[in-house]
């Protein structure tokens, strides 16, 4: 039975007032989580902000999970003020996560993350490495301060290529530009990605052009996170028909070829 878990913040790291990493002690969620799944985090017991906020699972060990988030509004700002020792309520793990198929073992995967969208890719990269999949991470942001978790990938000896829009770190330009340049010499067996919609759209095109399957994690505002409100829908192709599918329950990860962009 899925539960409304209470988790203690056991660690907190921040990068200025923009990016935060929380460790949460919650053994059940830690045990059950798969990369790409997410949590609904209750911000406050008061009615403002009213809704929980969805966060992907950034990392896990036996007892703890981590969430990595950017301060972008009322909810994340309030959450960022919580301290080590505080208790928060979380629902999870929710959603389907990234498919890790056996047929890709011993092959090459490219993980593309934009900004805070890189959050679930760390958990994914660690799991792929365990399965002997050769991982390259493409991590892009606006500026060098938007790449706070680059060092985490490098620490795991994962090949990590960075780009920034202002050129302050890595190559200058969008992460999809860097990714496309790499494609000219090195074609992966599959692409996993999470990030802004523009980035995911470009990756969908590249996936089609280069005939590389891509699994994309979509972001959407969510009311409940478990399929009851139908608020988080995106247009997804199934067979010959395209319908509004719930990002929380049917996703958040969808195959690039099935996503109908506006």
């Amino acid at each position: 039975m899925l539960k409304n878990h209470k988790a203690v913040i056991t660690g907190k790291k921040s990068w200025g007032n923009d990016y935060f990493l929380f460790s949460l002690e919650t053994p059940v969620i830690a045990r059950e989580s798969k990369p790409g799944q997410f949590l609904m985090v209750k911000i406050t017991d008061n009615p403002y902000p009213l809704l929980r906020r969805p966060f992907s699972i950034h990392a896990r060990n036996r007892q703890n999970i981590e969430i990595f988030f950017q301060n972008t509004g009322v909810g994340t700002s309030m959450l960022s003020q919580k301290q080590r020792g505080d208790e928060i309520e979380i629902l999870g793990p929710l959603g389907n996560g990234f498919p890790i198929e056996k047929k890709y073992e011993s092959k090459k995967a490219s993980l593309v993350g934009g900004g805070r969208g890189a959050a679930p890719l760390y958990f994914l990269a660690c799991e792929l490495v365990k399965k002997n999949i050769n991982v390259t991470v493409f991590y892009g942001g606006k500026s060098s301060k938007d790449l706070p978790i680059a060092s985490k990938f490098k620490k795991e000896n994962i090949r990590t290529l960075c780009s920034t829009e202002d050129g302050s770190s890595g190559s200058k330009g969008l992460i999809t530009d860097l990714f496309e340049t790499e494609l000219k010499t090195d074609i992966p067996s599959l692409i996993y990605a999470c990030g802004p919609e523009g980035m995911l759209k470009t990756l969908s095109k590249l996936s089609k052009t280069y005939q590389i399957p891509a699994e994309l994690s979509l972001e959407s505002m969510m009311g409940c996170g478990f399929g009851a409100c139908w608020g988080c829908v995106k247009k997804i192709k199934k067979g010959n028909t395209a319908e509004w599918h719930k990002v929380c329950e049917d996703g958040p990860v969808f195959s690039a070829g099935d996503i109908i962009w506006d």
Binding site: L50, G223, W230, W244
Partner: protein, 325 residues
């Protein structure tokens, strides 16, 4: 000696619990407690079974059903506002046939009331759904969502006009034997008038309020926050207005009133009951915490114990207008 005392305390505590009766008799339907999960916030019911034992709540109203599957509105479908939520889901759903084949069998063994929310583009569509589902004995009641735009009447919804409300209730009542609850819209000038029309049409109860028509704009982009431009506002933000309307409706009609609007605690529920509601529906709170209904039931029981209220039903419509001491 200490053990004996402890034992005695246990017993008196036990008696205390038994003395609080929070069951509700709506006449056409008996509920084990007054808490019903509201339509559109509880999926088809089974979405909540990973979190709560559905048998413990008074009942639940499934997501609004049209005759055919419905696609719903383009996203964004949700926008948050201070203490509230705006939605323009557009009643996306699987339609009556799939519902009766795929969902109803899953709800058959439940001991809580299963209420089916009926929608339609025309009065006839409501009647056809009511007729189609009438044979399913696991259905405790229908709830008519009369806030759907009527295609034949230029998109005006029946809830906004007393004659249209009367007409649709009368037609549905004629086509089925299942009890009918009419869900009223707050987007009207005089709620008493509409509640009376529903009663005159033969409705067994009224539930109110549905969401308030609302809008949000992103100042950065100047775009509406909702894909459908307008949406329905729900959550704690609407509670005082909903309470006022429930009070007015309860004073206008003899049939039971079910109170809805921003209820997220036992005390919120009690307010609606004191205002005149017999039962309540919990909506948006189901998103904030999927076990909100159970928490509210516990809080209602605790409140009754604290105030020594033996029968919750007796609290209905007991606003005290005496000057405060």
């Amino acid at each position: 000696m200490r053990t004996v005392l402890f034992f005695l305390q246990e017993i008196s505590y036990g008696i205390d619990i038994k003395m609080v009766d929070i069951s509700i008799d709506l006449g056409f339907l008996k509920l084990k407690n007054p808490v019903i999960a509201a339509s559109g916030t509880f999926g088809y019911g089974f979405e909540f079974s990973p979190f709560i034992d559905l048998n413990q709540i008074g009942g639940f109203v499934v997501k609004g059903l049209y005759l055919s599957p419905k696609q719903g509105n383009p996203p964004p479908r949700l926008a948050e506002t201070a203490c509230g939520l705006m939605n323009s889901i557009g009643l996306q759903g699987i339609g009556v046939e799939r519902f009766s084949k795929e969902v109803l069998p899953q709800l058959k063994a439940l001991r809580s009331a299963v209420i089916i929310n009926i929608c339609g583009d025309s009065n006839e569509e409501y009647a056809r759904i009511a007729e189609y589902l009438d044979k399913y004995k696991e259905i405790s009641a229908y709830e008519l969502n009369i806030s759907c735009p009527n295609v034949k009447k230029g998109g005006i919804c029946p809830a906004q006009n007393p004659d249209d409300t009367y007409e649709i209730v009368k037609l549905v009542k004629k086509s089925c034997s299942t009890p009918v609850i009419t869900k009223l819209s707050p987007n009207v000038t005089d709620i008493s008038e509409i509640a009376l029309s529903a009663e005159e049409g033969g409705s067994d109860a009224v539930s109110l309020v549905n969401t308030f028509l609302a809008m949000g704009i992103d100042p950065e982009t100047r775009k509406p926050k909702l894909g459908n431009v307008f949406g329905g506002l729900s959550g704690p933000a609407i509670k005082p207005i909903a309470l006022r309307m429930v009070y007015q409706a309860a004073n206008a009609v003899q049939i039971p009133v079910i109170g809805i609007g921003g209820i997220s605690s036992g005390r919120d529920a009690i307010e609606f009951i004191i205002a005149g509601a017999k039962a309540v529906q919990v909506g948006t709170a189901n998103f904030t915490a999927p076990d909100s209904t159970l928490k509210i039931i516990d809080e209602i029981t605790a409140f009754c114990k604290e105030k020594k209220i033996k029968r919750l039903q007796d609290l209905s419509g007991t606003v005290d207008f005496n000057p405060q001491m």
